[in-house]
Amino acid sequence: MKKATMRSDTVDALSFPDLCRFCQAEEDWVIELVEQGVLEPIGGNPGNWRFIGTSIVRAKKARRLSRDLGINTAGVALVLDLLEQRDAVLRRLAQYEAV
């Protein structure tokens, strides 16, 4: 066992190619997700797109869903929306149940 201290940083923003690498996804797939409104990059065209915060989290979740369950981008968009609604409801429920 070797112990190492290393450079670590928080992933705050990713460029278009970096996001593709991060998700191990094709460019076309990412573009489709942007067109579905699932990912909302800053910047007008793919050349200067910056993906931040929730877009990074959503991209990775979307990738897992599409890879593991074979869902297309429209389906992924719907699943993500429903999951976010469900999580919000669960949070509210937890608050009421605790009281």
């Binding site: 066992m1 070797k2 112990k3 190492a4 201290t5 290393m6 450079r7 670590s8 940083d9 928080t10 992933v11 690498r21 991060f22 191990q24 915060g53 929730t54 990074i56 989290v57 990775k60 979740k61 897992r64 869903l65 890879r67 593991d68 369950l69 074979g70 699943v79 999951l83 949070r91 937890a94 608050q95 009421y96 605790a98 009281v99």
Partner: protein, 305 residues
């Protein structure tokens, strides 16, 4: 090593057709997908379902697995493959996708001597992805955490072994669930990174939502009735909280900027919960009796009738 009943995992008969196996796998994958069904148990089941499908979908692997038979040699739950295992079979596609290992049973029977997962050995290795669970307190202050990693390493003779190592991870202050920490150069291959998705360990008090934290704040009936200041401990230190007069159970108080640090910092939402003291002494008994007599209060007035 434990014997794995892949048919049982997928809930199909040993005679099931490839289509039925596929159907059972898809159903199981949807049901237990870690993004849909949170909880450690679901994640383990999802892995089991994938492992079972990885074997049963492939005619070569399935035939080899079937040959092991139901009456596989088992002694007290431990399983040893027969010595002539793999005789007469050749596995064309050994490595399943993803770089997460399956069970020892799978690794021994189906991946013995096989190459590492795709992407490694090339000039640019595939990035690795993992998860790290931290406490909400760690996210408040920043922390250093030791993480155990197991990476396949290719030896000079081409054999693969798993190398254990411990890396220290700097957890930055103000990180929230879902964010990723990148460890540059620590991926499985050369010049590849390791990404760790952050999740918070369940907390006995706080419920996180982004940078905001929710909690139930217990208050005594007189604190709620009279209002006033209470001191509330938070991960960022003690804060003074003003309870309004005639506060109700369920009333939400916001502590601006006292949530997880950041720009902007999150808020803490305290939901008031009026808690009655337990009546155990005669004095307390008398006191409540006096209240019952002297306080004109009907909590059921709105029910009518």
């Amino acid at each position: 090593m434990e014997y794995k009943d892949y048919y049982k995992t997928l809930g199909v008969a040993r005679t099931a057709s490839t289509d039925d196996i596929k159907k059972a796998f898809r159903k199981g994958a949807r049901k237990y997908h870690p993004d849909i069904n949170t909880g450690a148990e679901a994640e383990a089941k999802f892995k089991d379902v994938n492992e079972a499908y990885e074997v049963l979908k492939d005619p070569e692997r399935r035939a080899a697995y079937d040959q092991l038979g139901q009456d596989a040699p088992r002694t007290q739950g431990r399983y040893q493959p027969p010595p002539d295992w793999e005789g007469g079979f050749s596995f064309s596609d050994r490595a399943p996708h993803g770089n997460e290992g399956f069970s020892d049973f799978f690794e021994t029977l189906f991946r013995r001597g096989a190459g590492p997962t795709s992407g490694m050995g090339s000039t640019r290795g595939a990035d690795s992805h993992g998860r790290i669970e931290i406490s909400i307190e760690d996210a408040y202050r920043g922390a250093e955490r030791a993480l155990s990693l197991r990476t396949p390493v290719v030896g000079p003779d081409g054999s693969v072994r798993l190398q254990d190592r411990t890396v220290s991870v700097q957890v930055p202050k103000g990180i929230v669930q879902g964010q990723h920490i990148r460890l540059a150069g620590q991926g499985a291959g050369p010049a590849s990174d390791l990404f760790l998705e952050v999740s918070f360990a369940p907390h006995p008090v706080y419920c996180p939502d982004g940078r905001d934290l929710y909690l139930d704040l217990p208050v005594a009936p007189w604190e709620a009735a009279l209002g006033g200041h209470v001191v509330m401990p938070t991960p960022g230190g003690k804060v003074d909280l003003r309870i309004p007069k005639n506060a109700r159970t369920g009333q939400k108080l916001r502590l601006k900027g006292k949530g997880l640090p950041g720009a902007p910092a999150g808020d803490i939402y305290a939901t008031l919960k009026i808690v009655n003291p337990k009546v155990e002494t005669e004095q307390a008994q008398k006191f409540f009796e006096r209240m019952a007599k002297e306080m004109p209060f009907d909590p059921r007035a709105h029910l009518g009738g």
